[in-house]
């Protein structure tokens, strides 16, 4: 078991993959370190939302993912 990180939309290009498995547990600082510099920079902006186990986090810095959880990184949605 591990924590799955999903990179949605344009974040998958920055991450170089749609998802990545990392060892749990994982907090906000652990997430920043795990995603690489490019995604980390985006993640630290207000516009990227974080969901854990299918729930949007009102404050993403409170992240506390356990093994088996799925973390989704959600950039601003497309207009168009």
């Amino acid at each position: 078991m591990a924590v799955k990180i999903l990179f949605l939309g344009p974040l998958q290009d920055l991450a170089g993959a749609g998802e990545r498995m990392v060892d749990g547990p994982l907090d906000w600082n652990g997430l920043i370190e795990a995603v690489g510099l490019d995604v980390a920079a985006k993640l630290q902006s207000e516009k990227v939302n974080v969901a854990c186990s299918g729930r949007l986090l009102p404050d993403k810095s409170t992240l506390a993912a356990q093994d088996g959880d799925e973390i989704a990184l959600l950039p601003p949605v497309s207009g168009g």
Partner: protein
């Protein structure tokens, strides 16, 4: 009656509307909007991605919000995901109401929220490759009308 769907395959807006009308026989009017992949700007294909645990529940909440905000008898919100060809329908929204203005306003409201507050990411394939579609300021202005 709420009919919210995420669709992996193409659909016929005309048939969907005919069924929606039958499902809401008591309504005086039905307003609708269908949005298609624009067959211009050198676009070869559109790719729509979503995040399943949030996208469909979010659309269902939006449909409920439209039902609460306007005097509706039914609302329909269908959205495509996956790969789409130019001119294919992406989204269909319909609202059945006793009064015309409620049905039109509900479609306007639901479309504005689907455009800028629903969990979809789009990229389009042009002759030089795939490009993500950025959020548009106009869409956020449209959304702010409802606050």
């Amino acid at each position: 009656m709420i009919d919210v769907r995420l669709l992996e395959k193409g659909f016929s807006a005309g048939q969907a509307l005919a069924r929606f009308a039958k499902a809401n026989p008591g309504s005086g009017g039905i307003a609708s909007f269908v949005g298609k992949v624009r067959p211009d700007n050198d676009v070869k294909a559109l790719h729509l991605t979503h995040y399943e645990p949030l996208t469909l529940p979010g659309m269902e909440e939006l449909a409920q919000a439209a039902m609460s905000r306007f005097a509706l008898e039914g609302v329909l919100a269908w959205h495509r995901v996956g790969y789409l060809q130019p001119a294919a329908p992406i989204v269909l929204v319909a609202a059945a109401a006793r009064h015309r203005r409620d049905s039109l306003a509900a479609v306007d409201y639901t479309m504005d929220h689907l455009k800028s507050a629903a969990w979809f990411w789009k990229r389009e394939k042009r002759s030089d490759g795939w490009h993500w579609i950025e959020p548009r300021g106009q869409d956020h202005d449209d959304l702010a009308r409802w606050n």
